[in-house]
């Protein structure tokens, strides 16, 4: 059984020209004759040639022998043998030519019973090294040198060294860098004659012109090395939120500015947001807490390249109302990945009176007061009327417990802590003698006494 199998395996090998050998060059396929000239290359380079074997017989053929014999030639990828190749099937393998020194080279490629003579020429040229002393990497033509990821406006440098490892002088007549985002060579003069064992260094600079992949070429005496890099838009400096006044209270309009820690490296747009957390949990939102022009709780801003202050609707600032409810206003400025928060603490405060006006009607005084209570906890009101001499009018201070009315009002007003109070005081006697009034309002923080309103 074993002998029979051996005979079966060996039988096709004895048949001539059962494989057709071709060279794959991209999408092209070139037939191979008895002699193949692989071409010339620099002695410090290597050359890979990809071959294909196609079984042109009508049956399965076993590839028994696949070898390359010659100084500087080797396989980089080859199938294990023996291997059966079905009719019309194919195999590929790669022969690398990597000379050690300038000269003419040849090797014999054997495929079963077929032999092909491979020839190549290695020419003297400078060895190209990448990197600093002690950490150098020898480059071969078509090697790609990656400059990494670099922000637009910044640069990355790579150091190259040309070396003459031979016993005769070498001339570098052509040394060029191409590609929009690459420049150089720097720190080298041409033409350059490298004495035996001599070295010369130069630099290539990657300065990306835009975001995205960048490709360039370094050409040394006709040998081409790829240069690659990734450009990215520069990061914005951290935005800072500046308030004027710096520590606002309820009932104010505040200027809000967005300033960058340094000038913007490019133009961009961002957002300024605010959210409000009332000091007393469960209190309804205060709709007056908002930016004013443009209005709302989110406003867009833009930064121009070279500027440090953001523009909000064409201006360098936006006003914000702090509303009439105690709590925290959290401002967030976001510019790309940069984010900054500022917290405005609106402390609980006694009632703030905005206006107090009294008008005389027949037999009564009508008192109109506008104010805000940022704790929404007004409890007691005290009214004191005065005569022309500044004396309190009988019965003196009129105290009213108004906590329930205010509580009901604040629950339903939807207007934060502001309120208008209209109170009518029937009066008897010489009403014209009453000329002033003061109002005290008590809330959870303390008591406020209005200025005396004259009427």
């Amino acid at each position: 059984m074993r002998a029979g199998t051996l005979i079966l395996l060996l039988a096709p090998v004895c048949l001539p020209a059962q494989f057709r050998i071709t060279i794959l060059d991209g999408r092209d396929e070139r037939p191979v004759g008895e002699v193949v000239n692989l071409g010339s290359l620099d002695a410090s380079d290597f050359l890979d040639t990809r071959f294909q074997l196609r079984n042109i017989s009508n049956g399965t053929t076993v590839l028994q022998v696949l070898s390359v014999a010659g100084v500087g030639f080797s396989f980089t990828a080859k199938p294990s043998t023996p291997v059966a190749v079905p009719a019309a099937g194919s195999l590929t393998f790669t022969v690398r030519f990597e000379p050690k020194a300038p000269g003419t080279y040849s090797a014999v490629l054997t495929v079963n019973t077929i032999t092909v003579l491979l020839r190549a020429v290695a020419m003297a040229g400078p060895v190209v090294w990448l990197g600093a002393e002690g950490r150098q990497m020898k480059l071969s033509a078509s090697d790609a040198v990656d400059f990494g990821t670099v922000e637009r406006g910044a640069v990355a440098r790579r150091r190259f060294v040309l070396e003459n490892p031979y016993e005769t002088a070498l001339t570098v007549s052509s040394l060029e860098v191409s590609g929009a985002s690459f420049r150089g060579p720097e720190a080298i003069q041409l033409p350059l004659v490298l004495a035996p064992q001599d070295r010369a260094a130069f630099e290539v600079v990657f300065a990306p012109q835009s975001a995205g992949a960048a490709v360039g070429r370094l050409t040394v005496n006709g040998r081409i090395f790829l240069l690659t890099g990734q450009g990215v838009e520069p990061r914005f400096p951290k935005p800072e939120i500046v308030l004027d006044p710096a520590a606002p209270q309820s009932g104010q309009q505040v200027k809000v500015m967005v300033r960058l820690a340094s000038t913007a490296p490019r133009a961009g747009t961002g957002e300024l947001r605010l959210r409000f957390e009332p000091l007393t949990p469960g209190l309804s939102d205060d709709p007056a807490i908002q930016f004013l022009s443009p209005s709302g709780r989110v406003v867009p801003f833009s930064v121009e390249e070279g500027e440090q202050t953001a523009r909000i609707a064409g201006r360098s600032e936006v006003e914000m109302q702090t509303g009439t409810t105690a709590g925290r206003v959290i401002l967030t400025a976001q510019l790309d990945s940069q984010k900054e928060e500022a917290v405005v603490t609106l402390a609980a405060m006694p009632v703030a009176v905005d206006s107090l006006r009294v008008t005389r009607n027949a037999g009564a005084f009508e008192l109109n007061l506008t104010a805000f209570d940022n704790t929404r906890s007004v409890s007691q009101l005290v009214f004191t009327f005065y005569d022309r001499q500044g004396r309190a009018v009988e019965p003196g201070a009129i105290a009213v417990d108004a906590s329930r009315e205010f509580q009901r009002y604040f629950e339903n007003s939807g207007a934060g802590g502001m309120f208008a109070l209209r109170a009518v005081f029937p009066v008897s006697g010489e009403a014209s003698a009453v000329t002033g009034v003061e109002v005290e309002l008590r809330n959870a923080v303390g008591t406020t006494r209005s200025a005396r309103a004259s009427f």
Binding site: S293, T370, P395, V400, A402, S413, M418, S428, A433
Partner: protein, 254 residues
């Protein structure tokens, strides 16, 4: 203690039976699309209310009353925005004036140049005031004030409502911008990017504005709206005795 009695003090039931709490109301304001909206709030804390009227050509508010000119009608609205009276009117825009207590007083129809007095009996003609009037007001109960624009700047004409006598005065040779006469007789006008406030017997105040002022309107006896050019938004000016405050109004008018 004085011998005047405040009756409320004797009534435990008074409490809040004769008192009323509400959201502070400043006045009614016309927006660029002709809607009339309530402006609520207090200094530095404003909120827009819902529109109460549309198709408004011009409006002015004293806080307690608002005069609104529709295309061919003049309306008087109360503080809630309810129509209290209406009169037929010539087409076009109009200017208005109030008394110091906020009662409607005068109306000027821009297209016809007619000046009318608003009284309890209704509209009473005061005659032809010309075509160059930019603001009207009352200097006092007996004198109307007309601000007029000419090549020489802004002029002020004071007309006696009793005798019909007229006095002319140059307000500003450098101003051609909008102007306004407040219910208490102050004259507000624009000079460059300055808002100037003239009050009888007091030095003239000057207030820098963030952008040139395009338009002035009365929001209430104390408050004036200043609409800025170049999409600069709206400012609110508060005029009180010895005190002028400038605030920004929220841009979104709903």
């Amino acid at each position: 203690m004085a011998r005047i009695l405040l009756l409320a003090a004797f009534s435990a039931a008074w409490a809040f039976s004769q008192a009323h709490l509400s959201v502070p109301h400043l006045g009614l304001v016309r927006d660029a699309s002709g809607r009339l909206l309530a402006l609520r709030g207090l200094a530095g804390n404003f909120l827009w209310g819902e529109p109460v009227l549309e198709g408004v050509r011009a409006a002015s508010s004293s806080g307690s009353w608002t005069l609104a000119k529709l295309e061919t009608e003049l309306l008087l609205l109360d503080a809630d925005g309810t129509v209290a009276a209406r009169w037929p009117a010539p087409p076009g825009s109009a200017l208005f004036a109030f008394t110091a207590s906020g009662e409607p007083a005068l109306v000027y129809f821009s297209k016809t140049g007619e000046l009318w007095r608003l009284a309890r009996e209704g509209l009473q003609p005061l005659g032809d005031a010309g075509q160059h009037v930019v603001a009207i007001g009352l200097a006092d109960a007996e004198h109307a004030v007309l601000i007029e624009r000419s090549r020489d700047g802004l002029g002020m004409r004071t007309i006696s409502l009793v005798t019909g006598s007229v006095e002319h005065e140059i307000l500003s040779a450098e101003s051609f911008g909008p102007a306004l006469v407040t219910p208490d007789g102050r004259v507000v006008y624009v000079q460059g990017e300055q808002l100037r406030v003239r009050e009888r017997g007091a030095p003239e105040h000057s207030l820098p504005m963030p952008a040139p002022v395009q338009f002035l309107a009365q929001i209430s006896c104390e408050w004036i709206e200043a609409r800025l050019e170049e999409n600069g938004g709206r400012m609110a000016l508060r005029l009180r005795a010895g005190d002028i405050g400038l605030y920004r109004l929220p841009e979104d008018l709903r």
